[in-house]
Symmetry: C2
C-alpha cells in the first residue's frame, strides 16, 4: 500500500495543494479581480457521506480477490480530472460510479476480468492514471450493459526489460510517469515524455490517447516513440513486432494509438528512450506585438532548429503564469542535448526573434555537464512558467472550491488558418464567458509548434454559480468547440476524444473511417464491451 | 503526349542506359569477375512480337475514351520493376497482363472506372509510377474476378494549391517525382522525398507504400509529411482534415498509408514541404573495421545530430559503387539546412567517427548560399556513390540482358539484433547464391538509420542461367526473407509488401490486426475488387 492516498475527487495526493489560508488569499485576489463582493471557499464532500448505489454486477470468487466495490475505490474511479469531473467529485455527485474496480496484477488476471465482464454483459473501462479530461473513464452503462467494470492497470507498473544499445525498454502499460522515470534512471535513460498530467498518467494511457509530451517541437507525440505495442483485446492478444521502422502495410501500432480503450487494453510496449540531457540553454523572449511573436515562433520552427521548448504565451497568460508585465507576449525557448552544446541553435533562434522585435531581457541561460543540471530554465520568467505548469492541476482543485469556472481546451491548425482561428475562438469564448459568468478571461499559449502549424491551448477562467458550474462550463465549451472546428482546427491535439468531444469528433473524422474503425472494433471487441461511448459506438 | 516513351519492359525511358558496346564491356568485366568463359548479351523481346490474350472485359463507351487495351499499354502495365518483373518483360513473358488500362483525368472518371469494374466483377489495380519491386501491380484474377483493370493515375499530376505560410501543398496522387519538384520550385519549396525510384514513382504510390525518402535519418518516411489524405474508395470518398497534428482517435491517414491500393485510390494529399536547402556539408568516413563503423554510425544518430545522409556501405558495396579500395567501409555523411550553416553537427559527427577509428581522407566539403549549391557532395567517394545510386535502375536492365541475377532486399531491426541479423543474413544468402549461381556477391548498406536501429539494404549479384533467372532469384529471395524474419527484422522497411512479400508479411503482422484490416476493407471495398492478393485477402 502507498503511504499517501490519492484524492478521491481531485487531482493529486490528499493534503497537497494550497491550504485553507492560502485558498482564502487566492479567493480574495480573484474576488477583487472579477469585481465580486466575496468568493466563498467551500469544503469538499466527505467520502463517508457518499451514498453510492449497490453494485449491479459482482465478480466470481476467482476474480474477486483483486477486485473491490468499496466506496473509496468506486468513488475515486468514477471520473477523470476535467473541470466537470472535479466539480462533481468535490460536491459528492457521483453520476456513474463503476460497480466494480478490478486491479489485475498480470495479463492472466486481466484476461479473466475481460472474460467475466463480457459474459456478464458489463462494460469495461480501462483506467491508467485516471487523468482524462475528456470523459474517457466515466461510463453510463445505459440499457445495453449490466454494469460497469473499471480495470485499474496500476499494478502493471514495471519496466520489464532494457535494451541499452538500442536505447529502448519493454514497459508495462500501467506505470505512472514518475515511477517509469525512476526505473529508467539507473540505466542512464529517459523517455522524456512529460505531459502536464505526468504525475498521474500512465504509459498505456499516453498511448491510448496519443499523448503530447512537453517537448514543444519535433518528436514529442508518444506515437513516435513506439517500437511495438502489446494489447489484450476481448478477442485475444495483438502484439506487433519490435522494429525501428517498417513499411509493411498500415501500421498495427497506429490502430492501437488513439484507440482510447475501445479496442483493448495496452499492457506493454517497447518504447524508444533517450540519453539524459546534459547540455541546456533557455531564454524568455518578450514581444510587444502578438503577430510578431507568432511570426517569430513560426520562423524558428520552420528553420529546423527543433527547440525542446517553444511555448508562446500571450500577454494575459504570461502575466498570469510567468509574472511578466502587461502587454508582453512571452516565447519560452529551450534547447537540450545529451551529446553536444546547444548554443548554436539558441543563438540562431534568438537572432530570428530579434528580427521580429523580440527581446531577451533576462539573457540566455546555459548549462553543461559540469554545472548543476537543473540550473538553466529554473530561473526568471521561464522558471516561473515551469513552476506554474507543474502545479496547475493542484491549483485548480482550490479554485473549484471557490466555484470558479476554470478549464482549458486545445487544438491545432495550420499556420495559414491560425490568425482567424485565434481571433474567432477568443471572441466567441470571451462572449460566452461574459454571458455565462458575467466576467472572465480567455488566454492562449502554444503547447506545441510544428513547421506547418501551432497547437494553441486556451485557458478560461471566470466566476461560476455554485451548483451550476458544470452546465455553465458545458455552455462555454460547446461554443469553443464549434468555433475551433469551424475555423479548421482539430477537436483535440492531445487531450483525446473521450465522451466529451464525441459530437465534434463525429463531425471531424471522415464518415468512412468511422465505419472502418467500427468494423475493426467488431473483430477485436465482438461483444462491444470496451469503453462504450468513446470514439465510436459498437455495432 | 510525352516526346519520349517509357520502356514497356524495363526501368526508364526507351534508349536510356548503357548502349550495346558499353554492355559488352560490362559483360566482359563481369565474366572475368565470376570466372566465366563469356557472358552473352541478349536483346529484349520486341513489342510487336507479343501475343497477348484477348481482353476479358471491355469498358462501356462512356469510359472507353480514357481506356486502352492496346498492346503497349497492356504490356507496359503488366509488371512493376523488380528483377523478376524486368526479366519476364525482357523476354516477352507477360504472365498477367491487365485487360484494360484506364487513364482517368479526374475523380469523376476514376469513380466511373471503379463503378464499372465493380459491376463487371473485375479486379482493380491502382498504378502510379509502376515502380513496385514487390509485385504490387501484377494481378492474377484467378477464378474470382472477370478480369483486371489497371488504373493509371498519371493524368492526376498537378500541384493544386500551395500554402506558402504553412509550407504545404495540395497535390494530386498521380504526379511523378520530377514533375512534382518542378511545380514546387517556383514557390521556393520542395518535398525533398527522393526514393531511388524518384524518376518513375508517384506521390500516391509513395503514400500507399509508406515510401522511405533519401534522407537517412529523422523525418524521411512519407508518412510524416502528410497533413491530410483524400482517398476514393469503392464505398465513397474518405478525406481527412488538414492538420499539423491531432490526437483525435486513431489517425485516419495511417490507415491509408501502407494500404497499397487495397482500400482505394489516393487521389490527393496535403503534404508538408520544406524550404530548399542552402547550406550543405558532406564527408566520406572510412573505417577498416565494420564493427567500428556500425558503432560510429549508431552513436552519430543517437547523438541527435540528424544527418540528412548517413549511409554505411560495407567494404564490398563501397568498392562496387563508390570505387573505394578493398577492405574499407564507407560512411557517407551529409548535413543540410535552408536556414543555417551545418558545420557544427558535421564537426561533431566526424569527431564521433574519429573516436571509432574513422578517417576522412577527402576532408569535409561545405557549401553555403554563395556557392554553387550542388558542389558539396558531388565529388570524391560521396559523389561516386550518389551517381551510382541514381543510375542503378538503368544499369540493372543491362545486367538482365546478360542473365545476371541482380536484385536487392531490405529490412530494419533494432541495434541489439543487428550483428546477428547481418551475419545470419549474409551467410544464408551467400550460401544460397553459391548453390544457385555458383558464385556471386552479397553486399550491405544502411539506407536509413534510426536511434534504435538501422535499415540494412542488401544487394545480390551472381551469374544466372538464361530462362531460369526468375526461379533462381525466387530461391535466393525465400532464403533471404526467412533469414530476415528469423533474426527479428521486418520483411520490408520501404519496399512494401505487394504479392511477393505476402508469405512473410502474413507471419510478421499480428493475426488480429489482419482480421481488423480485413474488416475495414470490407467497409471501404465491399466487393473486394481493390488490388486483390496484396496485404490481405478480401472476405
Amino acid at each position: 500500500m502507498p503511504d499517501r492516498r490519492r484524492s478521491w475527487w481531485g487531482w493529486g495526493w490528499e493534503g497537497e495543494g494550497p491550504d485553507r489560508r492560502q485558498k482564502e488569499a487566492i479567493a480574495a485576489g480573484l474576488a477583487a479581480r472579477f469585481g465580486l463582493a466575496e468568493l466563498a471557499v467551500a469544503e469538499p464532500a466527505r467520502l463517508e457521506d457518499l451514498d453510492l448505489p449497490r453494485p449491479r454486477v459482482e465478480p466470481p470468487e476467482s476474480i474477486s480477490r483483486y477486485c473491490s466495490s468499496g466506496v473509496y475505490e468506486r468513488a475515486s474511479h468514477s471520473y477523470g480530472k476535467s473541470f466537470r469531473d472535479v466539480v462533481r467529485g468535490f460536491r459528492g455527485q457521483m453520476d456513474h460510479p463503476p460497480d466494480v474496480v478490478a486491479f489485475p496484477a498480470d495479463e492472466a488476471e486481466l484476461v479473466s476480468v475481460l472474460d467475466w465482464a463480457t459474459g456478464a454483459g458489463a462494460a469495461v473501462v480501462p483506467y491508467g492514471g485516471g487523468s482524462s479530461v475528456v470523459g474517457g473513464v466515466e461510463c453510463d452503462p445505459g440499457d445495453r450493459y449490466a454494469g460497469v467494470v473499471c480495470v485499474d492497470l496500476g499494478r502493471l507498473d514495471r519496466v520489464l526489460e532494457v535494451d541499452r544499445v538500442s536505447r529502448a525498454a519493454r514497459i508495462q502499460g500501467g506505470v505512472l510517469g514518475p515511477s517509469l522515470e525512476e526505473q529508467l534512471r539507473p540505466h542512464g535513460l529517459t523517455l522524456r515524455h512529460f505531459p502536464q498530467s505526468f504525475e498521474f498518467s500512465s504509459l498505456g494511457g499516453w498511448l491510448a490517447t496519443r499523448s503530447g509530451g512537453h517537448y514543444a517541437t519535433a518528436h514529442t507525440h508518444i506515437d513516435d516513440f513506439v517500437e511495438s505495442i502489446r494489447m489484450v483485446t476481448p478477442a485475444g492478444v495483438l502484439e506487433s513486432r519490435r522494429l525501428p521502422g517498417s513499411g509493411a502495410g498500415p501500421s498495427p501500432d497506429r490502430l492501437a494509438l488513439g484507440s482510447e480503450g475501445t479496442l483493448g487494453v495496452i499492457t506493454e510496449a517497447w518504447m524508444r528512450l533517450q540519453d539524459r540531457p546534459r547540455y541546456r540553454s533557455s531564454a524568455g523572449v518578450r514581444f510587444t506585438d502578438y503577430g510578431d511573436a507568432v511570426a517569430a515562433t513560426r520562423q524558428v520552427v520552420q528553420a529546423g532548429l527543433r527547440p525542446a521548448n517553444c511555448r508562446l504565451l500571450d500577454d494575459a497568460e504570461a502575466a498570469l503564469s510567468a509574472g511578466s508585465g502587461g502587454g508582453v507576449h512571452l516565447l519560452v525557448l529551450g534547447f537540450e542535448s545529451a551529446d553536444h552544446p546547444v548554443d548554436g541553435p539558441m543563438t540562431r533562434a534568438v537572432e530570428i526573434c530579434a528580427a521580429h522585435g523580440g527581446q531577451v531581457p533576462d539573457g540566455v541561460r546555459t548549462s553543461g555537464p559540469d554545472q548543476e543540471s537543473s540550473e538553466a530554465g529554473r530561473q526568471g520568467a521561464v522558471g516561473a512558467w515551469r513552476n506554474a505548469f507543474i502545479r496547475a492541476p493542484y491549483s485548480r482543485d482550490a479554485l473549484v472550491a471557490m466555484s470558479m469556472i476554470v478549464e482549458t481546451f486545445e487544438t491545432a491548425c495550420t499556420w495559414d488558418a491560425f490568425d482567424d482561428l485565434h481571433a474567432g475562438v477568443i471572441s466567441t469564448v470571451e462572449k460566452a464567458v461574459r454571458e455565462v459568468c458575467g466576467a472572465g478571461t480567455v488566454t492562449c499559449r502554444f503547447t506545441h509548434v510544428y513547421p506547418d502549424g501551432p497547437a494553441p491551448y486556451f485557458s478560461v477562467m471566470g466566476p461560476g454559480r455554485r451548483g451550476s458550474e458544470v452546465s455553465q462550463w458545458d455552455e462555454i465549451k460547446a461554443a469553443a468547440a464549434d468555433a475551433v472546428l469551424s475555423h479548421g482546427g482539430t477537436i483535440t491535439h492531445h487531450h483525446a476524444v473521450g465522451r466529451d468531444h464525441r459530437p465534434w469528433y463525429d463531425q471531424q473524422r471522415p464518415r468512412l473511417f468511422a465505419e472502418a474503425l467500427k468494423a475493426a472494433k467488431s473483430v477485436l471487441d465482438p461483444a462491444g464491451v470496451m469503453n462504450p461511448g468513446v470514439l465510436v459506438d459498437p455495432s
